[in-house]
Amino acid sequence: MELNGFNCDGEGCAEEQEEESTALKLPRSKTDTTCSIIATPGADSAAAGGSAPKEQRMSKSTPAMLRLDSLKKNRPPFPWFGMDIGGTLVKLVYFEPKDITAEEEQEEVESLKSIRHYLTSHTAYGKTGIRDVHLELTDLSLWGRKGSLHFIRFPTHELPTFIQMGRDKHFSSLHTTLCATGGGAFKYEENFRTMANLQLLKLDELDCLVKGVLYIDSVVSSGLSECYYFEHPTEPDRCEQKAYNLENPYPLLLVNIGSGVSILAVYSKDNYKRVTGTSLGGGTFLGLCCLLTGCSTFEEALAMATEGESTRVDKLVRDIYGGDYERFGLPGWAVASSFGNMICKEKRDSVSKEDLARATLITITNNIGSITRMCALNENIERVVFVGNFLRVNTLSMKLLAYALDYWSKGQLKALFLRHEGYFGAVGALLELTNPS
């Protein structure tokens, strides 16, 4: 994605460029005395040495005084970001203060202002960056400030562009800590430092995930319920989404379906363990779909899956036994062999791309359900919360998970889902802003 806006099209473009140019100009004129170390091109390369952050903290100015003030109130300086750099997607949460006083507005450094405007006035950034407006949390109180929490995502392979933007917008001059989690926080730490002079606060992704889930659930309990489940999951006609009150959540099995899958058992706010994981996750669904159908995005793959018929691809119990395999209580409709029909050439030739996409989705989803159920049994936990971006706009998988858990556990297990699916790691990272340790 092109977050710097130069390549964006449509109406916002001119405005964008204007903003961009001011952003570029203003710091230069203002920071002659303050942030010269990072503002001048010569110093840019010097900063790569690694001593820059220390010096930055020592330089002071009026805005910086304000920021210090913010710190004194045990509140991190703006901007407040949390970032989760996963294998496929970067998830970014941004807290937009809505209670900015006139004085603050005036003192706000231009770079900060431009970031705020840029993020909040758009819903798409470049070709691939997206703000999930429907997830935005308004009227949120965080560390004594009121504002909105924004949820933004873009593909991990666009991260260099993002870092470039950070550099162009002189993000480093804001002396903020950039809290980042996910594998990319480790993998790209060096890039953040050398390309944009940004120091990351690296955080464990599972710590962040758990914190994020618990936090979001606590702040949104008043409004539209964060947590929901499917009532009557085994009856397609009656199956419907219902709010669920996650008041007393422990113990909880937390299943995070990103590129891969992690399964955590959460016993309390600070006590959780990773039970296991599987490499058959969202990345596998998309990866296989790309290879099998030639599609290239998750949305495309999902759209095809919605149209397809997996029973042409999979071999069902009834294909083998003519009906139920009663000896073992296996219903005829159960999948006996995923892609099992594809060993036969005629059948390979007769299936559509949509069928293949559907079968892939069903295979991956069922497998996650199956492993989850076994973990729940082994850990003796009855409530399962599924999160992660694989479930984004993926009602098919959610209903299937709800169904599978209910059916195979004979109603013992409940599948729960959270509206902010994939953003909990990023939220958890944001929350670490006050814990600079």
């Binding site: 996750g281 990345g283 099992g340």
Partner: protein, 787 residues
């Protein structure tokens, strides 16, 4: 000696490749399958069962095999006890009789040959009362009409899973070294497991087109506790879509050449390295096919196949572990066409299990995994014969061995052995159980050296057995001078055994762990196969005869000695007697060339004390103490060994007040004394020696058979009667004599009572390995640690 490569199956292979061409029916007519090579003993075959899978058919039937056995019969000596020393009057007569034993035949072949094979069976099936054929497997339905039409047998379908479990129980109970652990990079890829006295409970993961996970708790109690739709069919189906490769085998081939890291997203692709805090290394797969989701490039067929293989294997392994944990099971067997002897999948499954259980659970595979369904179906049909009440033994002569048709292994070998794989099992006359005196039956390993893992020893012993083959052939012919076609049969024996040795050179794991014992047993099986049941019968007879003449002399000379001297002389006699061993080439050469070589000469050959292993002083100290309650003595050779070595020794024990149980072989092996020979010998000795006579009469001396026909000794497979006798008599001393029983096997066996292992090392190579010279003495006396 000339060990010529024998291409036995060439004929059948050529014939069958013609049959595979279904269009040409004229070809079918010309097919002549050698019945003695594949579908053997069809003349009296009954109880057919067939398991038709996706690509392979497994046929099972029961037959009775008529073969010759050597019998000894005592002449009536009651009237001529006083004539015992009459020269030239043989002790007993030897006769060869026909005996009928039950045999199970299992044959595996490609589905393409099914019609040809049915035709062949029809033509050779005479006077059978069989009316039905039990059938299982996915293809049973498809071929039902063909089978009914060809064989005129009614097809009776049996549940696949039930058959599988029945078959699995059967092989686990009856075939030692059935299960193995696969370790790709180890010196020996196959590490065979001991047969656990109790095979239950276990988990069977059957990876067919899907996966079934079955918990087996007893012979009749099993439950499908779970499964997965991601199985062999997924690998095959998805693989075919991704790589445009149609055959399962080819897909595996592709996978073995691929690099999954090009397709999978690894932890290091996300983290740049390891995810340290969770202990996830950088090379772990974070997302299968993850790279194909984010990179827009072409992926090679090999890489995709490899990635798919890992994905499926890991997934199955993970589920297996979750189920094993939930049900608290540690024995997990894998089977199904996805596994079936493919090193590639055995490796990935093993890797997955190791990863997910951190080594707590081992993935186990089965040598006869492909036969389980057929065996089970057969057992279902043979319930009235109650095969499960007997013990069965794998016949090495009639079985192909592991991987005989594996495409990955040695393609040359494959072409030679054709596409037919066989398993034959003989019904053993006796039910076999553990020796109750083993300290820990679960960890007992009979064999001292596993030649599968020790390449140097393997080479030596294979050479040794090859080298001795000429002599064995000669001996076999000599034993049946007046019998028809003895030379021809002996030559066939040579070819067969030679072929086995060659197979074992390439696939040491073919019949489980390769050991000196298995080499000896294979030879015995091959000799029996060609009706040489007891090549040494006459030599044994002659030597027994001669030794008996010296018995009283030896006993008298010993009696004159002081207690200390007597004990030493008795032990030395026991050791000298053990020199007379036709199984050891060094000795048989001497015996062959010097007929006067006798007991005294043998004593002189013995190593002087201190012996190689010398616990004599401890033994003497023990002998000064209270007598043992009962001694169990596993005897070795006929002639001087048993008569002049063992008898004087146990005589002393009997005088001390120790009961003695002499355990000897049930059937012949080399010049080892058999139970029936020992019966006669004991009678004769009793007639001369009042001590022995009284002991027999008072039942303080008992003769039992060990249930074996091997020159070695597997204490986990002994006659049930022996076990009972041992238990009833409160046996507190085990004595094992001879190289085969005390060195090649049981050298490290631990007992719950005192034990004495003694042998003379009659092989210079082995002596050297043990740090001594030829005719070194091992005298090992062990007392179990006090609990």
């Amino acid at each position: 000696m000339g060990c010529v490569a024998v291409r036995k199956n060439n004929r059948s292979k050529m014939a069958l490749s013609g049959g595979a061409d279904r269009g040409s029916h004229s070809m079918d007519k010309s097919i002549t399958l050698p019945p003695d090579e594949i579908f053997r003993n069809l003349e009296n075959a009954k109880r057919f069962a067939i398991d038709i899978g996706g690509s392979l058919t497994k046929l099972a039937y029961y037959s009775t095999v008529q073969h010759k056995v050597a019998k000894v019969r005592s002449f009536d000596h009651s009237a001529k006890v006083s004539l015992q020393e009459t020269d030239g009057d043989p002790l007993y007569e030897i006769s060869v009789q026909e005996e009928i034993t039950a045999r199970l035949h299992f044959i595996k072949f490609e589905n393409a040959y099914i019609e040809t094979c049915l035709d062949f069976i029809k033509d050779h099936l005479v006077n059978t009362e069989t009316k039905v054929i039990k059938a299982t497997g996915g293809g049973a339905h498809k071929f039902k009409d063909l089978i009914e039409k060809k064989l005129k047998l009614k097809v009776d379908k049996e549940d696949e899973m039930t058959c599988l479990i029945k078959g699995c129980n059967f092989v686990l109970k009856n075939i030692p070294h059935e299960a193995f652990v696969y370790a790709k990079h180890a010196d020996s890829e196959f590490r065979f497991q001991n047969t656990h006295p109790d095979i239950f409970p276990y988990l069977l993961i059957n990876i067919g087109s899907g996966v079934s996970i079955v918990k087996v708790e007893s012979e009749d109690k099993f439950e499908r506790i779970g499964g997965s739709s991601i199985g062999g069919g997924t690998f095959w189906g998805l693989g075919a879509l991704l790589t445009k490769t149609k055959r399962f085998d080819e897909l595996l081939q592709l996978a073995s050449k691929g690099q999954h890291t090009n397709v999978d997203m690894l932890v290091k692709d996300i983290y740049g390295g390891a995810y340290g805090s969770l202990g996830l290394t950088g090379d772990l797969i974070a997302s299968s096919f993850g790279k194909s989701a984010t990179t827009d490039k072409e992926f090679s067929k090999e890489d995709m196949a490899k990635s798919l293989l890992h994905m499926i294997s890991n997934d199955i392994g993970q589920l297996a572990c979750l189920y094993a944990k939930l049900h608290n099971l540690t024995r997990v067997y894998f089977g199904g066409f996805f596994i079936r002897g493919h090193p590639v999948t055995m490796h990935t499954i093993t890797y997955s299990i190791n990863f997910f259980t951190k080594g707590e659970v081992q993935a186990l595979f089965l040598r006869h995994e492909g036969y389980l369904g057929a065996i089970g179906a057969f057992l279902k049909g043979a319930e009235e014969d109650n095969p499960n009440q007997y013990s069965w033994g794998e016949n090495y002569a009639g079985s192909s061995g592991l991987m005989s048709v594996s495409p990955e292994l040695n393609p040359v070998q494959r072409a030679r052995s054709g596409t037919f794989d066989m398993l034959e099992m003989d019904r053993l006359e006796r039910q076999l159980v553990n020796l109750p005196l083993l300290q820990d039956p679960t960890s007992y390993i009979p064999d001292t050296v596993d030649l599968t893992e020790d390449a140097l020893s393997r080479d030596y012993w294979l050479f040794c057995f090859e080298d001795a083959l000429d002599g064995v052939v000669k001996r076999a012919v000599a034993s049946q001078k007046d019998q028809p076609k003895a030379v021809e049969r002996a030559e066939k024996f040579r070819q067969k055994y030679c072929h086995k040795l060659q197979t074992l050179r390439h696939q040491p794991f073919a019949y489980g762990s390769l050991t000196v014992r298995s080499l000896l047993d294979t030879r015995e099986h091959c000799l029996n196969e060609f009706n040489f049941p007891d090549p040494y019968s006459k030599i044994k007879q002659k030597e027994n005869d001669m030794a008996l003449k010296y018995y009283l002399k030896v006993v008298k000379s010993v009696e004159e000695l002081s207690w200390e001297q007597r004990q030493f002389t008795l032990v030395k006699g026991l050791l000298a007697g053990n020199v007379f061993d036709w199984g050891a080439k060094a000795v048989s050469d001497v015996l062959e060339s010097d007929p006067d070589f006798g007991f005294e000469q043998a004593k002189q050959q013995l190593q002087e004390r201190p012996w190689l292993v010398d616990a004599y002083n401890q033994w003497i100290e023990r002998m000064k103490g209270p007598p043992h309650k009962c001694a169990l003595f596993f005897v070795d050779n006929s002639g001087i060994d048993i008569i002049l070595g063992v008898f004087p020794f146990i005589r002393e024990l009997l005088i001390r007040g120790t009961e003695v149980v002499l355990a000897s072989n049930s059937s012949p092996a080399l010049n080892d004394v058999t139970n029936s020979e020992l019966q006669i010998l004991t009678e004769r000795i009793a007639a001369m020696d009042p001590v022995i006579q009284a002991a027999l009469k008072e039942d303080r001396l008992a003769l039992v058979q060990n249930g074996s026909s091997s020159p070695c000794l597997d204490l986990s497979r002994l006659d049930k009667v022996l076990a009972t006798v041992v238990r009833e008599r409160g046996t507190d001393l085990v004595i094992i004599e001879g190289m085969g029983r005390a060195i090649h096997t049981n050298y490290y066996a631990m007992f719950s009572c005192e034990s004495l292992k003694l042998a003379v090392i009659k092989n210079s190579w082995l002596a050297e390995r043990l740090g001594g010279k030829i005719f070194s003495v091992v005298f090992k006396y062990e007392v179990p640690p006090k609990s």
